[in-house]
């Protein structure tokens, strides 16, 4: 046991391990808060969908031979637009929210993969694809600028959720009532769409798209098993997300398992625990 702690401490003294800790925890926190609204609005799949859009957009960026920051100039707007489109169609009944997500996500995955095949940017396409889905090993090569960017994003998201908490509740619970009584529901939906896109693009670069969907849906669903008011669900979801991601990283370092997958496993375990508690 002491050995384990010793190893762990050694790892923690490495800056890139600390960076990974901070970044993953912040992303988990943001996506769990956002997740409560998205799950309740029936957009659980939006994480998957938007990360596929971002994947397609990245393919476009790499065809255009953009890199680094310029990349984001293509990826971010495209993803924000898709997020807005998805969240909009959710309210108009012609195409359901889930169907529009499926369409957009399958569509952009296909386009992205085709572009990557036709105009390969590196020799190993399947590893490119794989790293978009599961997060590259880059999680352990984060730079301090990544940490800074993530912190700024997290502060902004937290700020929005604290300051607009009651409006977000109102619009999520009953959009019709909110807009009938003069809440500008469209504005808040747009805001949520933009935040979703920003969090997902940031997160999928750092931790991969598989992990980001899990981070969006697991903590809220776990919290909703036990808690029955909106506020307690929000708080519990945030706490669960932070605990699970910390435990996940710790385990992955000690057992040298893949980071993303380990965090998702921690989330699954927490969901099982919450379900067991709710049955009592």
């Amino acid at each position: 046991m002491n050995d384990v702690l010793q190893t762990f401490q050694e790892y923690l003294s490495l800056p890139f391990v600390r960076y990974a800790f901070v970044v993953v925890t912040l992303i988990a926190l943001c996506s769990s808060l956002l997740g409560v609204t998205l799950v309740l609005k029936r957009f659980s799949f939006i994480g998957d969908g938007l990360s596929h859009v971002a994947f397609g957009a990245m393919a476009v960026a790499s065809v255009l031979k953009l890199s680094g920051f310029e990349n984001m100039l293509v990826v971010m707007p495209l993803t924000v637009v898709s997020a807005v489109l998805i969240l909009k169609t959710g309210t108009n009944a012609k195409i359901n929210g889930d169907a529009s997500i499926a369409m957009i996500s399958a569509g952009s995955l296909a386009v992205g993969y085709m572009l990557m095949n036709k105009f390969p940017s590196s020799s190993n396409i399947s590893s490119d694809v794989c790293s978009t889905l599961f997060g590259s090993s880059s999680i352990l090569t984060l730079k301090s600028s990544d940490v800074l960017f993530c912190t700024v994003m997290a502060v902004a998201v937290l700020g929005v959720f604290v300051l607009l908490y009651h409006k977000i509740f109102s619009v999520t619970f009953d959009e019709n009532f909110a807009s009938a009584t003069g809440v500008n529901a469209d504005r808040y939906n747009l805001l949520i769409a933009i935040i979703t896109a920003v969090v997902i693009v940031t997160a999928m670069n750092l931790v991969g798209s598989l992990l980001i969907s899990a981070l969006i849906i697991f903590p809220p669903l776990s919290a909703m098993r036990v808690f029955k008011s909106f506020r307690s669900v929000m708080i519990c979801s945030a706490v669960t997300a932070v605990v699970c991601s910390s435990v996940g990283i710790a385990v992955s370092i000690l057992l040298s398992t893949p980071v993303g997958a380990t965090i998702v496993c921690a989330d699954i375990v927490s969901f099982a625990i919450f379900s067991a508690i709710s049955k009592k």
């Binding site: 908490y165 409006k167 003069g182 909106f230």
Partner: protein
């Protein structure tokens, strides 16, 4: 009395499907307007159009001295998700969100007044209960309490007593009547003729091609003329229709 809502030649519907057209009526401050009509005649559609949730297909609606945040609304059905975690207090308070503007939290007065509205509707003991675990009638009261929180000048009610027991129905009507007495304009959709006769000042009746809009006395007289039985005592629950 001051005109609050004026509708001229209004057409309602969904997309290309017209549900109603050529509708003319007006609502003044302090009125108690009942909207009646068969299932599917477009009552709820009219209410949603008045609230701006639905675009009018033609004609105009003029509001005078009404802001959206003066309006309270009780929907016919709230498609609140089965698994939505929300306490009764959170929902009732959400009636105030439009009035908050940029302020992020509810004020002490708002909390107090939400408390009062819950008392009025006899749900103060449920205030920390989970909404989805309440009975249908209890849920209806919660939504009415929310509507009371947002109704400053006008309250629109879509079949407010559906699902309530007779005792609760009577209480609900009393609450609405008192609110009306205190100066709040009421627009209510109802199938319950007794209550229409008892409480309303005006009636708007929607039919296939026939509308009636006028004072409640005119409405009663007109219907008695048409009624073969000349039955003065309307049976409760019947829909009057020309």
């Amino acid at each position: 009395m001051k005109r609050q809502i004026d509708c001229k030649n209004l057409s309602l519907g969904y997309g290309s499907k017209i549900v109603l057209s050529g509708l003319n009526f007006s609502v003044s401050e302090g009125d108690f307007l009942c909207i009646v009509g068969e299932n599917g005649s477009g009552k709820s559609t009219l209410m949603k159009t008045l609230l701006g949730l639905q675009k009018a297909l033609g004609g105009e609606i003029k509001f005078d001295g009404l802001k959206p945040s003066d309006i309270g609304y009780l929907p016919q059905q709230t498609p609140a998700q089965r698994d939505f975690p929300a306490s009764v207090r959170e929902i009732v308070l959400s009636g105030f969100t439009a009035k908050m503007g940029l302020r992020p939290f509810y004020s002490a007065t708002e909390k107090k007044s939400a408390e009062n509205n819950m008392k009025k509707l006899g749900i103060e003991s449920l205030s920390s209960k989970c909404y989805r675990e309440l009975s249908g009638g209890q849920q209806q009261r919660v939504l009415l309490a929310r509507a009371l929180c947002s109704a400053e000048k006008i309250l629109l009610l879509d079949e407010p007593v559906t699902g309530l027991d007779p005792q609760a129905q009577a209480e609900m009507y009393e609450i609405i009547k008192n609110l009306n007495k205190s100066g709040v304009t009421i627009i209510m959709i109802s199938h319950d003729v007794n209550s229409i006769v008892k409480y309303s000042t005006h009636v708007l009746s929607l039919g296939k091609n026939t509308f009636f809009f006028g004072s409640v006395n005119d409405y009663i007289n007109k219907n008695i003329d048409k009624n073969i039985n000349k039955n003065k005592n309307f049976r409760g629950g019947d829909t009057l229709h020309e």
